[in-house]
């Protein structure tokens, strides 16, 4: 009895299976322009990857002929045994013409894949392969000038702190993260010394690195514990530099326990949601305009291998159509601090204030910028150490 039923069932399923094989989608008349998006984290992480995901949706809205195919959690811990070149092969088979790789972690894989698919366009976010000359002609780099966003974050933190101790939840250490932490410090220092006119010695700014862009249990330091540790040791404002939202989550818990603490998340415009009583605001990326530019160039056949570092639109840094970097003030930011922040932002825009102006020293005391020297883009991009006055590791021990 069982034998017959099993046989009948398996024949039935095999027929269904074969039916599916025959039902391939026909090659229709007009094909949409398909672009692929490789996200390092979950598409709904309220951070780095979500900002990219929503930019993809923005492009679909602006360009009715464009269609996004995305895959998230593209990292060796989450998708074991899957490599970037493999995913790219698959996307190319699906007819995708342009592929966006959204993480620093995908640098080598993207470069390798780009060499193997010369007729497909690649956009690697946050990389510098074009600058270093390692990129093939079909590979471009895009990054936002988050230094400004981080300066605003540091400014808001210093305006708020009661203990004078600001913590920074750092991801891994490389050039990008060094310059972003340093920018936060410069913003905080400016607010502390120039606006609040307080003693520089009373400001403490410390970074602790977890080892990757987000928590990988057993591999990285646990960002939740790092955040708790900051709040338990007198740091009352925590700036996040990682892809996910641990900083605000822990701050909220501490607030409920009765501590006066605040946090500043990162990456995604909606990162303050649900943590309004501790969130001072969020410096965020708005990748939509940048994506659109590259995708339109690709469609029009005007692709060029470029390294682009897009900044805020100083007319309105929160304009979704023009500004790549923005800062959305949070509900916990006091009105006086917000007023000061607004004037700081306008001073940055008019170049009245340039925080990357010498004299500035590296952590070991060597000169980063001479007196009166204004840093070039390259000098900021390739910062070798943290700045003097900051606590924390500049590179691996």
């Amino acid at each position: 009895m069982f034998k017959k039923m099993g046989l009948a069932l398996s024949i039935f399923f095999m027929l269904v299976f074969m039916g599916f094989l025959c039902l391939r989608p026909g090659f229709g008349a007009e094909k949409p322009f398909q672009f692929g998006l490789l996200l390092v984290g979950p598409y709904n992480d309220h951070g780095w990857s979500q900002a990219h995901f929503e930019a993809g949706e923005y492009v679909q809205k602006k360009l009715p002929g464009a269609k996004m195919i995305y895959i998230d959690k593209v990292n060796p811990a989450d998708r074991q045994g899957i490599t970037i070149p493999q995913l790219v092969d698959d996307m190319v088979e699906k007819g995708i013409k342009l592929i966006i790789a959204n993480s620093d972690d995908m640098k080598d894989g993207t470069r390798e894949a780009a060499k193997m698919h010369p007729d497909i366009h690649f956009l690697h976010i946050s990389g510098d392969d074009v600058l270093t000359g390692k990129a093939s002609g079909n590979l471009s780099n895009l990054m936002g000038r988050m230094e400004y966003g981080k300066m605003m974050a540091g400014f808001a933190a210093a305006m708020t702190t009661k203990t004078g101790k600001i913590g920074y939840l750092g991801p891994l250490i490389n050039e990008e993260t060094r310059r972003l932490v340093a920018s936060s410090y410069l913003g905080a220092k400016y607010a502390w010394e120039k606006v609040l006119k307080k003693d520089p010695k009373e400001l403490t700014f410390k970074v602790t690195w977890i080892g990757f862009w987000f928590n990988i249990p057993g591999v990285t330091a646990d960002p939740t514990k790092v955040a708790q540790n900051f709040f338990n040791t007198g740091y009352d404002v925590l700036i996040s530099g990682i892809d996910t939202t641990e900083a605000v989550v822990v701050a909220k818990q501490k607030k409920q326990e009765g501590k006066m603490v605040w946090a500043i998340p990162y990456d995604y415009i909606g990162a303050c949601e649900g943590a309004s009583d501790v969130c001072l605001g969020v410096p965020y990326f708005n990748w939509g305009p940048g994506y659109l530019e590259f995708i339109q160039a690709s469609i029009a056949g005007k692709w060029k291998s470029n390294w682009i570092w897009m900044g805020p639109d100083w007319k309105n840094i929160n304009d979704p159509d023009t500004s790549t970097v923005g800062f959305k003030p949070g509900p916990a930011l006091s009105s006086s601090a917000k007023k000061a922040l607004d004037s700081f932002i306008s001073d940055l825009g008019t170049k009245k204030v340039n925080l990357f102006e010498g004299p500035l020293y590296y952590q070991d005391g060597s000169i980063f910028l001479k007196d009166g020297e204004i840093a070039t883009d390259k000098k900021i991009w390739y910062m070798e150490q943290l700045l003097k006055g900051m606590l924390g590791q500049s590179s691996a021990k």
């Binding site: 069982f2 034998k3 099993g6 046989l7 069932l9 398996s10 399923f13 269904v16 299976f17 599916f20 094989l21 195919i69 995305y70 895959i71 998230d72 959690k73 060796p76 811990a77 998708r79 074991q80 045994g81 899957i82 490599t83 070149p85 493999q86 995913l87 092969d89 698959d90 088979e93 620093d104 972690d105 080598d108 193997m116 891994l172 250490i173 490389n174 050039e175 690195w209 080892g211 990757f212 990988i216 057993g218 591999v219 990285t220 070798e384 590791q393 590179s395 691996a396 021990k397």
Partner: protein
């Protein structure tokens, strides 16, 4: 013929059970089950490059499974295979690092295989030594050594082997292309790895079937004390079996470094060690069935990546299918034994 029929009947029954179970899970998850199966199928065998991807997963799985056949034959649970693979990757990375500046990269590439096999072998030998001399059960020794290996790899990546100016768990600097295992560029498949995996299956089949070593392993596996009375030394054979298992696993680790990632990353073993344990159990410890099961598992691993891309379903479904397969096999086995016992009683 009779056994073949019985075997295939069992397999179909298992497949149906697993099929119903995963379909149920998919329905609960709100995904169209047939579309999911279709995408897994098409995503793993739908094109030559997909098949090549499957084979790149099949290679380390088969290598580990071949090694595990020795230890299972003698009755050892070599759960440390994961750590042995990691140590193989570490040893071969260490050797390849010497090759970066050299003018004869091919020599270092060749030597890295030996280094990998040695790394895995040494690590397995530790577990075997603890078992035979220290009386530590090999499961505990293996698990402990897995953790140690994971600790060592993290330390090396974040410490001595870090990229200049960088502290990241991303992995070490990519090796220059001269140190990559040569591969067919269109389908990204290394023939060397394929040959090694096939050779591993052949050698294992021959060793276990036709040599004194194979016979000794089997004898000790069946009855340690009887074998001892026959003059076999179980301790030595256990160490030998462990060394074989570790060697093959280390080789798999080496291929992951030289052939797939071209650098050392924390997740270098991709859990293939643990997965290969399932492969061997599911294949009923048969050396000719194991590569087939490994191929099926590899198809699931590669094909399931289509689920999040096309259907927005989490790809961990492949893990569900694999786990369900093993559980169903065990359940059916238990059911049959119980039936047999009942028959006997009647």
């Amino acid at each position: 013929m009779q056994t073949f029929l019985r075997y295939s009947r069992k397999m179909i029954l298992t497949a149906v059970v697993v099929f119903c179970f995963t379909t149920l899970i998919l329905l609960i998850a709100g995904a169209p089950p047939f579309a999911a199966y279709y995408h897994i199928f098409k995503g793993s065998l739908g094109s030559w490059s997909k098949i090549a991807h499957v084979i790149t997963v099949w290679i380390p799985l088969t290598l580990c499974a071949s090694g595990l056949l020795y230890t299972f034959r003698i009755g050892l649970w070599n759960i440390g295979v994961e750590g042995q693979m990691i140590m193989g990757a570490i040893f071969s990375t260490a050797l390849l690092r010497f090759g970066i500046e050299s003018h004869q990269p091919a020599v270092f590439l060749g030597l890295s295989f030996f280094a990998g096999a040695m790394g895995g072998g040494i690590w397995a030998f530790f577990a075997g030594f603890l078992k035979t001399k220290g009386g530590v059960h090999e499961i505990f020794a293996g698990l402990g050594l897995n953790f140690v290996a994971q600790g060592i790899i993290l330390y090396l990546i974040f410490g001595p082997w870090k990229r200049p100016g960088v502290a990241s768990m991303s992995g070490t600097e990519v090796f220059p292309q001269t140190l990559w295992l040569p591969f067919l560029s269109t389908i990204r498949l290394s023939p060397v790895g394929l040959v090694l995996a096939l050779a591993a299956v052949m050698v294992t089949a021959w060793m276990l079937r036709y040599t004194w070593v194979g016979l000794g392993l089997k004898a000790i596996g069946k009855n340690q004390y009887a074998a001892f009375l026959f003059g076999l030394k179980p301790g030595r054979y256990m160490l030998l079996a462990m060394a074989f298992a570790g060697g093959f696993a280390g080789l798999a680790g080496c291929l992951q470094v030289a052939g797939i990632y071209h650098r050392l990353i924390p997740a270098i073993s991709s859990n293939y060690g643990y997965l290969s344990l399932l492969v061997v159990m599911l294949s009923n410890y048969n050396v000719w069935v194991a590569p087939g099961v490994a191929f099926f598992f590899a198809c699931l691993n590669i094909g399931s990546i289509q689920l999040p891309m096309m259907l927005r379903v989490d790809s961990s479904l492949s893990g569900v299918i694999q786990g369900a397969l093993v559980l169903a096999t065990l359940a059916i086995y238990a059911w049959q034994t119980r039936n047999k016992q009942k028959e006997r009683q009647n």
